[in-house]
Amino acid sequence: MDSPKTTIGIRGVVLLCIAVVIFSELLGLPLLRRSIRPAPPPSNFAPVSGVPSLVAWNEATIILSATGNPIRGEFISRRCELCHGVEGFSSRASTPNLAGIDARYLWKQLQDFRSGKRKSEVMQRIAGPLTPRDAADVAAYFAMLPNAPDAQFSPSFPQTLPDHSAIEIAQRLLAVGDPNRGIPPCQACHGPLGYVRPAPSLASQNYDYVLSQLNDFARGARSNDIDLPMRTIAAELLPSERQAVAEFYGADLARFPVGYTSQ
């Protein structure tokens, strides 16, 4: 039996362990510094030509883009009716439908048109005078519109059904993607399987428009997707697959979740 003065005791053990921790923290610092060398910044630090979009998704822009005033947006949107239709369904298949579109996505596209990061002569002229607040309001209005079209007002949507093989290809790409090529399923980002904002829902989108955008992404003509998801994916898709996917969306076949079972 040791006398109490020479026993380390529970307190002693705890204090010694804390001392070990502090000692190794102090000892660890030079090791940490030696093994981590942050990479030097690239030589052209902020290349404007290599920047996909000037939009930075911080707290301010996320809140602004999602909380527009749709009543004010309806007033602003009257100038959009000529091309994009009274109910948000355009008369030409090459012009996108905006009914029910994600507000954050539409806001970003207007900013990109305004800054020239997304190229369109028509849209650049129209988006130029719109302030970010105006764009948020317009986006909120279009987001509110129902995306089930009246046939008489939307001559370009839905399109005729594609043939069976194209449907098969599109179903597989929407539901499963192609893991061998690293192509994720469209539904995982564009819904309804999952949503990676601001990827827009394509359920009520025109065939011509979807096809032209996929092709533009594939060849880099459209390059405003931040961190290159669409350029990467569209380049992996074969032209026939882009065609099939566009036909599938344009024929209003993607309104509900698409399933796929391999044969």
Binding site: D2, T6, T7, I8, G9, G12, V13, L16, C17, V20, V21, S24, E25, G28, L31, L32, S35, I36, P38, A39, P40, P41, P42, N44, F45, A46, P47, S49, G50, V51, P52, S53, L54, A56, W57, N58, V176, G177, D178, P179, R181, G182, I183, P184, P185, Q187, A188, L193, G194, V196, G220, I226, D227, L228, P229, R231, T232, I233, A235, E236
Partner: protein, 171 residues
């Protein structure tokens, strides 16, 4: 051997061994994930800094090692395919744009976390295609999230100065 002091000292020794192993194995030559010094701002990742589009891919730094810059996002790795020289030390710096991702490559496990840079040193033994799949569940597209690194012999290696590398070697 049976005194109280001996047992107390044993506890402290065992604790030191366990703690020291954890502490120092996480600082020496391991993938540094949550290091305070290597933070990036998610919102401006594409606007300035080392992960701008023109800096993605493989490049040879002035002071030696080939450095790969990549971004992991839902549900692609960017660039999807990177060309690197085989048999030489390579430094991979990767960050995540949205959620946690990860993959196994060249005998190492890489995990990426949004907001910080993961740096890891690799070495590809042979000139070959190395495919990797995301192994950190990230959503409905996780199963199809694949990237490729193609190792070529050192004299064939061209630094990639474009982020679009769906087929390796194309400008």
């Amino acid at each position: 051997m049976h005194t109280e002091n001996f047992r107390a000292a044993l506890v402290v020794v065992i604790f030191s061994l366990v703690y020291g192993t954890l502490r120092f194995s996480s600082t020496l030559q391991a993938a540094h994930i949550l290091d305070r010094r290597d933070r990036v701002d998610l919102a401006t990742l594409h606007l300035h800094g080392e992960f701008v589009e023109s800096n993605l891919g493989a490049a040879r730094a002035a002071d030696g090692p080939v450095t790969i810059h990549m971004i992991a996002e839902k549900y692609v790795f960017v660039p999807a395919c990177v060309t690197v020289p085989a048999g030489v030390p390579i430094r991979l710096r990767i960050t995540s744009a949205d959620s946690a991702h990860g993959f196994k490559i060249a005998g190492s496990e890489v995990k990426t976390v949004p907001g910080s840079v993961t740096e890891i040193h690799l070495r590809f033994p042979a000139a070959d295609k190395y495919e990797f799949y995301c192994d950190e569940f990230c959503g409905p597209g996780h199963h199809a999230m694949m990237g490729r690194i193609v190792a070529v012999s050192e004299n064939q290696f061209q630094p990639q100065n474009s982020a679009r590398g769906a087929a390796c070697g194309q400008p």
